[in-house]
Amino acid sequence: MSLTPQLVLFEEDHTKILAVSKRLVSDANAKAVFLVDKNGQMVAEAGELVGIDTTSLASLVAGNIAATGGLAKIIGENEFPVHFHQGERDNVHITLVAQRIILVVVFDDRSSLGLVRLRVKKAGQKLAELFEDLFKKAEAELSDEGPGSPFAEITDDDIDNLFSD
C-alpha cells in the first residue's frame, strides 16, 4: 500500500535496541535516549524518563525532522543528518539512523556535546545494523505471511467492542 513497509517490532529486536540505548545513556553520561520512528511513533526509550511526556516528544521530534528535511530539500540538500538544540539546562542532540529512525539524546552539563557526538557515532552504527535487519525482516514478513499479525483474525465484534462505551 505504501512505499515504506509497515514497522513491526518484535520482543527480541526491542531487547537488543534497548540494550544499545541504555549503553548509550551511560557511555554518553546522558539523561535520556529516545528512538523515534519518522512517523512519530516511539520505538524505544532509556534513561531518566520521569516527567517526560514521551508520546508528545515523539510526535514533535518527528515533526521537527520532517520540517527540517523539507527545508533541506528546498536548498538542495538531501537531509540534515545532525541537529543540536541548546537549552539553559538541558540539550538535545538528534541524528538519523538507517534513514527511518530518529535518535534523540537529552543531556545536561554532566556531559558535553563532544562526548555525546562521539558516543552517538558508535551507538548509531550499531543501531543502524539492528534496524536494517528489522526492516528486512518486516519486508520478508510481508511477502511470505510469517508468524502473522495479531490482526489477521480480528472480528467485527472485536472492533465494535473498542467503541462500546
Binding site: 500500500m1 512505499l3 511513533q41 515533526g63 523539507g70
Partner: protein, 197 residues
C-alpha cells in the same frame, strides 16, 4: 503506516484530518480531547499561529482499548488548511493510515472543499498512494449554519459514487465528531486485517 509493537503489545495507527482552511479540523480534535476520559488520551499539541490557525499540525494520541491483547492506539493529526501551507500538509500525510476529509458546508466554501480534496489526492499520489485505496471518510461540517448547502449537493460534488461513508456534523457543538472518528478507526482496523491475511 501502522506500527505493530510486539514488545509493548500495542499497535499504532495514524489518522489525518484534512480539509480547507477553517473547515473545523482543529475543532474536531478539541472535542475529541474534551470528551475522552483521562486515561484514554494523551496531551493535545497544537502548533498554531497567534490567531489559532494551524501552522504545522495538531496532535492527539488516543488509546481506545485492546484487541486480542494488543492496545490499539490512534495518533490523530490535523493539517493546516490554508492553501499556502502545502509543504507542511505533505509532511503530515507521510505514513498515514486513514483520512477524515472535513468539508465546510457553507456555500461560499464549496469550491474550497473541492480544491482541498484534489490537493489531498495529489499529495497522496506523490507518496505513491491513491485516495481510493486507503481508508477514508467524509464529514460535512457546520451543518448548524443557515448558509449550509444541502447534503445532496455536497455529495454530488465530493462523493459522487456514494461509496465513501459520510457524516453530518456540527463540530463546535460536538455533533457527528465521534461518529466520524469511529467510522474511520473501524475502516483502518479492517484494512489491517486485510493487509495481514
Amino acid at each position: 503506516m501502522a506500527f505493530i509493537n510486539y514488545s509493548a503489545r500495542e499497535i499504532n495507527c495514524k489518522l489525518v484530518y484534512y480539509g480547507p482552511g477553517l473547515c473545523g479540523k482543529t475543532t474536531n480534535l478539541k472535542v475529541i480531547y474534551e470528551k475522552t476520559a483521562e486515561g484514554a488520551k494523551g496531551k493535545m499539541i497544537s502548533l498554531a499561529t497567534e490567531t489559532e490557525r494551524t501552522l504545522f499540525f495538531d496532535f492527539l494520541p488516543l488509546a481506545l482499548g485492546e484487541i486480542r491483547g494488543f492496545k490499539t492506539r490512534f495518533h490523530l493529526y490535523t493539517v493546516p488548511g490554508q492553501v499556502f501551507y502545502d509543504a507542511s500538509r505533505k509532511l503530515i500525510l507521510k505514513g498515514v493510515d486513514g483520512v477524515v476529509f472535513v468539508a465546510d458546508s457553507q456555500e461560499e466554501r464549496f469550491e474550497a472543499n473541492l480544491e482541498s480534496l484534489e490537493n489531498l489526492q495529489q499529495n497522496l499520489r506523490e507518496q505513491g498512494l491513491e485516495l481510493s485505496k486507503i481508508p477514508w471518510v467524509l464529514q460535512y461540517n457546520k451543518r448548524d449554519l443557515p448558509n449550509a448547502v444541502s447534503v445532496e449537493e455536497m455529495r454530488k460534488a465530493l462523493n459522487p459514487t456514494g461509496e465513501i461513508p459520510e457524516f453530518e456534523a456540527a463540530a463546535m457543538s460536538g455533533k457527528g465528531v465521534f461518529e466520524t472518528l469511529k467510522a474511520l478507526a473501524k475502516l483502518v482496523l479492517l484494512e489491517l486485517r486485510k493487509g495481514s491475511k
